[in-house]
């Protein structure tokens, strides 16, 4: 009986150290000891079996602690690897997308320019500007000044240009700032008809030559006075970085 008690104490001692290693509090250890003592260690017949069980329990605690740390390390490695792989693919994806989007932007610009060119060449034949007499590629200056003079013209919502103006022959040799803008008051002694200007930052202008005709009155007769003029239509280029 005495021998048994001695061995119990030794085992308990080892248990205590191991528990301490595993990080249990001392108060907790005491409670576990007391519990074990009251139930199992006081019974002399089963003490051998108890020793085995205790020893096994201890081994398990040890093993679990060791493999846990190793697995955690591997999970961490794997997680870092996955993050690295995902980041790599994300960067590759971004690179590919940037190339694709640059192509889309170029294509959009090309189509916008084509649209402006096609619309600008047929602009002189539109009902808003075409000459009343049957003339091809001819702008009626009287209609043009009427369009410029309209207070709330909505044509910037109709034509695919960012700006539209017509320069008379008198303005061909002049600098942009020297051009006299046409109004109802100074028409026809002016240089440029500004139909509208959306004032965009990135704009490319396309010009096309047309005949500009107006009714004139001389020697008791009205006649069509025609001169060469230049339609200037702008296209807006939208940049992604903006």
């Amino acid at each position: 009986m005495r021998k048994n008690k001695k061995s119990q104490l030794k085992i308990q001692g080892t248990i205590n150290h191991r528990f301490l290693d595993l990080g249990f509090s001392k108060k907790g250890q005491l409670k576990i000891q007391a519990h074990k003592n009251s139930k199992k260690f006081l019974v002399p017949e089963s003490s051998k079996a108890q020793l085995k069980i205790q020893a096994m329990t201890n081994q398990r605690f040890l093993k679990l602690g060791f493999s846990n740390k190793k697995s955690q390390l591997k999970i961490q490695e794997m997680a870092f690897m996955i993050v690295a792989v995902v980041l790599f693919f994300a960067l590759v994806g971004l690179f590919v997308l940037s190339i694709v989007f640059v192509n889309i932007q170029d294509e959009a610009t090309r189509i916008a320019e084509e649209k402006t060119l096609a619309a600008a060449t047929s602009l002189a034949d539109t009902p808003e500007l075409s000459c009343i007499a049957a003339k091809v590629n001819c702008i009626d200056a009287d209609k043009l000044i009427s369009l410029v003079n309209l207070n709330n013209s909505q044509y910037d919502k109709f034509w695919p240009f960012s700006s539209l103006s017509v320069i008379q022959l008198s303005g061909f040799e002049k600098e942009e700032e020297d051009l006299v803008e046409c109004t109802f008051a100074n028409y026809p002694d002016c240089d440029i008809f500004n139909v509208y200007d959306k004032k965009v930052d990135n704009e490319r202008a396309i010009a096309s030559f047309v005949a500009l005709c107006r009714k004139d009155f001389q020697n008791d007769r009205t006649y069509d006075k025609c001169e060469v003029a230049k339609i200037v239509a702008g296209t807006e280029f939208k940049r992604i970085e903006e």
């Binding site: 697995s71 591997k74 999970i75 794997m78 996955i82 792989v85 995902v86 693919f89 994806g93 590919v96 694709v100 889309i104 294509e107 959009a108 189509i111 084509e114 649209k115 096609a118 619309a119 047929s122 034949d125 539109t126 009902p127 808003e128 075409s130 009343i132 007499a133 049957a134 091809v136 009287d142 209609k143 000044i145 009427s146 369009l147 003079n149 309209l150 013209s153 909505q154 044509y155 919502k157 109709f158 034509w159 695919p160 109802f184 028409y187 009714k215 004139d216 009155f217 007769r221 009205t222 006649y223």
Partner: protein, 322 residues
């Protein structure tokens, strides 16, 4: 004594983790590759739709009485049309989008809708085929308002029964091979368009009431002059929407002509149509039924304009009512 084999396949945690993580990465890669292909297709379709809108530009008639174009695609394709008079006031806008057949002979999802602001396209909601015809005619009310572009499939046959001579001549001049002119006794496979007759026809044109009845949609639309082509070849929704858009265009053009009258007065001309033109700007067109009365008033304005001497005419419309 039978000894049971209790061996199991031991799979380490690393393997399980690698399989799950690898599977997830593979799934993501396949998913994003699929998405990328879809986006590239959508981009290509949107580009095609935008190019189509540019292809319709040469159809502006100018002084001509009509123009036609044949547009070819590499594969069987679908062009989708939509129209709204409420957006982009006062002109409204139309949308065009595109799709084509895959290797499995199924149509893919349509590409992005490309807005068209300065055209009046009359067509079915969906035009299908490898080739399409696009033709244009000018619209006068009484001065030229715009060019209407009509888009039809080249593979879909239209059989015109007992069509009036001017319509037959007009369409034959445009060399549209999918429109066939028949007399009442002959047989033709395709959409039957009848003029003032009803027997077994898909589309019935009543010239007296200026009405086009579509049996399939069970809807009636009303026309005036060359708008008869738009009424025949277009879906009722697109037709009605474009009629309202054309009235808005008439309003804006009339404002320009009213200003022009002031300029002409400086040169000794005294056009007297300003008052009537102002009244017509305020006239509302709810749908194509109001077109007939509107055109009658337009004809009155035209009569006054024709009475002016040639130097003081507000506009010329030699092709109108031809």
């Amino acid at each position: 004594m039978i000894k049971k084999n209790k061996k199991a396949i031991a799979m380490s945690f690393n393997w399980i983790f690698a399989i799950i993580a690898g599977g997830f990465i593979l799934f993501l890669a396949i998913y994003f590759a699929g998405q990328f292909i879809d986006t590239a297709e959508q981009e290509s379709y949107t580009e095609t739709a935008a190019s189509l809108s540019v292809l319709l530009d040469p159809l502006e008639t100018g002084l001509a009485s009509g123009k036609a174009n044949l547009i070819n695609f590499n594969k069987e394709s679908k062009i989708f049309f939509d129209c709204t008079e409420k957006l982009n006031p006062p002109f409204g806008k139309q949308y065009i989008s595109f799709s084509d057949k895959t290797l499995s002979e199924e149509y893919r999802e349509e590409g992005g809708k490309v807005p068209i602001l300065n055209k009046y396209i009359f067509a079915e909601d969906v035009v299908e085929g490898k080739n399409i015809y696009a033709f244009s005619k000018p619209i006068y009310m009484p001065f030229k308002i715009a060019d209407m572009s009509i888009v039809i499939s080249a593979t879909k046959k239209y059989c015109f029964y007992d069509a009036p001579e001017d319509i037959q001549e007009d369409l034959e001049n445009l060399n549209l091979k999918s429109i066939i002119f028949m007399n009442s006794t002959s047989e033709c496979e395709g959409i039957k368009v009848c003029f003032d007759t009803t027997g077994g026809c898909d589309i019935i044109v009543n010239e007296l009431r200026k009405e086009v009845y579509n049996k399939k949609n069970k809807e009636r639309v009303y026309y005036s002059g060359d708008l008869v082509y738009a009424a025949i070849f277009s879906s009722p929704d697109i037709y009605e929407c474009n009629i309202k858009r054309l009235k808005s265009k008439f309003n804006e053009l009339s404002k320009i002509y009213l200003e022009k009258i002031k300029i002409m007065e400086r040169q000794g001309c005294l056009p007297t149509i300003g008052g009537k033109l102002s009244l017509l700007i305020d006239r509302d067109i709810r749908d194509s039924r109001d077109l007939d009365i509107f055109i009658r008033d337009v004809e009155e304005i035209d009569a006054v304009n024709r009475l002016s001497n040639s130097g003081c005419m507000l506009y010329y419309n030699e092709n109108w009512g031809r």
